[in-house]
């Protein structure tokens, strides 16, 4: 009864589903405090108090017909202008409201921009490891995902392999920094090299290649590291942002696209993206949350909480004999599996009530992802269990 495309997704959904169900089963059997679930990217730090106050204030202060009503499909102009000005202050950009399109989170933003630009068969390059949903989004528009193998020494993008994979048929490249699943932040040097390669290839092929920057983790960085703002390095950059992590609002589905004036065909793209926002079914980003965001534009969730988790888990796992790049952003550790078949390691962990995600789920086998957006106590209590687990792999 279901479509051929969906049959594929239903079949490949079951592994993840089994994991969720296993987590629920373990919690029911052993108690939630005896299960160490590092599998989910759901922020455990609550939204800042400003968000709560802003919600109460907007419903008390604003006309409900406007607050809950339709607006331009791209979002309320005042909200978009407020965000544009915040970006301009922080990054020295010169965006106006017209450059911003409010979206139903970054996932919808990515769908909107891919619908805007992608013809069937055109190629979109991604760097392994990557969020496998990129494949679903590209498939929505019958594009072709082209994978660049990882540089496992640094988990910076493998630019030599990247350059080889750009063809006349390359329409876009997706990058994600700070990065899920590795926590790596692309360095300014990396971005300059990436931009130079793209510029040269655009000239070589007489084509336009869009760089899509998926950056829900932009604000989640540690040790004072700076995240370069990509539109400043490469004109054909489109930014997909979400407040899911920075304001701990993943369920609210609120984010935006930035299409800079410098991008080739920007005016037509902006119009098309507004329409794509509508016809993909979003129509517009949720109106109340738009207004809330405008009042909390520079608020942040408590990142220090994640930072303590990061250091504790990183140091603890190292002591257990596990190898890992120390992440500079996001809330993930990407840990080398002690055996090449990382699924074996995940299964062994599960027997100790530890839930972690195999790197194969990010097109990078041999590694496992741990989300540290969990209670600090979960990490403290899990570390001795990791010690026990590792005895089996010596």
């Amino acid at each position: 009864m279901i479509s051929e495309k969906m049959k594929y997704f239903v079949q490949n959904n079951s592994a993840l589903r089994v994991m969720f169900e296993e987590g629920a089963r373990l919690r029911a059997k052993y108690g939630a405090d005896k299960v160490y679930d590092f599998s989910l990217g759901n922020p455990n730090v609550p939204a800042p108090e400003e968000v709560k106050q802003a919600i109460i204030d907007v419903v008390n202060e604003e006309d409900p017909v406007v607050l809950h009503g339709y607006m331009n499909n791209a979002g309320f102009e005042d909200v978009r202008q407020t965000i544009a000005e915040s970006l301009n202050r922080r990054f020295g950009t010169a965006f106006q409201f017209r450059n911003l399109i409010m979206t139903v989170g970054a996932a919808s933003g990515l769908n909107v921009i891919l619908k805007t630009i992608l013809n069937p068969g055109e190629e979109v390059i991604v760097f392994a490891p990557y969020f496998l949903e990129y494949g679903s989004y590209i498939n929505n528009f019958d594009g072709k995902l082209v994978e660049v193998p990882p540089d496992t020494a640094t988990f910076q993008p493998n630019l030599e392999e990247f350059e080889k994979r750009i063809t006349a048929n390359t329409k876009a490249v997706i990058v994600n920094t700070p990065h899920n699943p590795t926590g790596v932040v692309y360095s300014e040097e990396t971005i300059k090299r990436l931009a130079a390669i793209l510029e040269a290839k655009q000239k070589e092929f007489g084509s336009v290649i869009y760089l899509i920057s998926d950056e829900p983790y932009r604000e989640l960085v540690y040790d004072g590291v700076k995240v370069p703002f990509l539109t400043k390095y490469y004109a054909n950059t489109v930014v997909a942002y979400s407040y899911s992590k920075s304001l701990s609002l993943p369920g609210e589905r609120i984010g935006y696209l930035v299409i800079p004036d410098e991008a080739d065909g920007s005016e037509e793209m902006i119009t098309a993206a507004g329409i794509a926002n509508r016809i993909t079914g979003s129509v517009n980003a949720p109106s109340l949350q738009q207004k809330v965001i405008a009042r909390c534009v520079d608020a942040r969730s408590d990142i220090a909480y994640y930072d303590r988790n990061r250091t504790t888990l990183y140091e603890g796992l190292k002591k257990c004999g596990l190898e890992c790049i120390k992440p500079q952003g996001a809330f993930y550790l990407f840990v080398k599996s002690p055996v090449p078949d990382e699924k074996r390691f995940c299964e062994a962990a599960q027997k100790h009530n530890i839930l972690i995600v195999p790197g194969s789920s990010f097109a990078c086998p041999g590694y496992v992802r741990l989300s540290y957006c969990v209670a600090y106590e979960t990490i403290v209590n899990a570390l001795p269990v990791f010690g026990e687990l590792m005895k089996e792999f010596r």
Copy 2:
């Protein structure tokens, strides 16, 4: 730079855009009270007070990590169960939470169910006049829209023409009752005949044909008319609902799909629709609004306001010599143009600062749509202007 598909939409977007811009221009020039804008389906009756209170209560009472967090892609189970029970009480159905999938409004619900079932080239039947966005949604999945011509005597669906158009390649039929743009409510007799035709054709072709009931206007009915609940008449019915109109929350993007257990392949469809909700970019319906809906499940906007508008506008236009079916639901009048080329009538109306939508925008030329979700005073003030306008058409 944009995709071929989007080029088409950008070109065809301009007419509507011109109309919006003209409205803004007229308001700036003559003052908002001298412009009679009947072009938009944006509820002007505010959301009921319960909604405001529910928003304040949920942020005060619920854990923000849960309230704003990810949940099952199909939505919070308690919210879905509450809605299922409300439907069961009202319509004598037997839904459980698993039959409901919370969506980003009905537009997203329609996209989700079409993605779930539709293969490229498969046919979806719609009855003229219809909301042209159906064409965009079907096009998203490379389906083929098949149009049934209108029965302009009653604006009930033309079932003789419908029957002729069902083929072995028909995957779905979309109905919309109460109906945009006519305000007609499909009678029980119509629905029984429609169901019988579908049953017979399923047997004839050995196929499954889904009836997709797009019903954002379900609660907007007048004169005590009953809207039959379609799952009770035809097993392969999927309902797409939205709170945009019943609770005046169009900007919030909150609605749901119902996939009944009786539908062929329901279990696989439910799983697939949850995944489609995720990968189309919605991920899930906005979380706070889900919780709000559960607390306002039987609340309604002030429908009496629309009813007064309906009667006043209907009677007033009749006195001006215009012909129209008296609508039983929604908030639209579909009025016969005094000249066959209704665009000429719309242009003439615009010169009087009256904004109305040509029937061609609903695949039904010769008619115009007036939305009466406007201030009552707008109707009272517009009627003499309609009188002036009609002098030009005698």
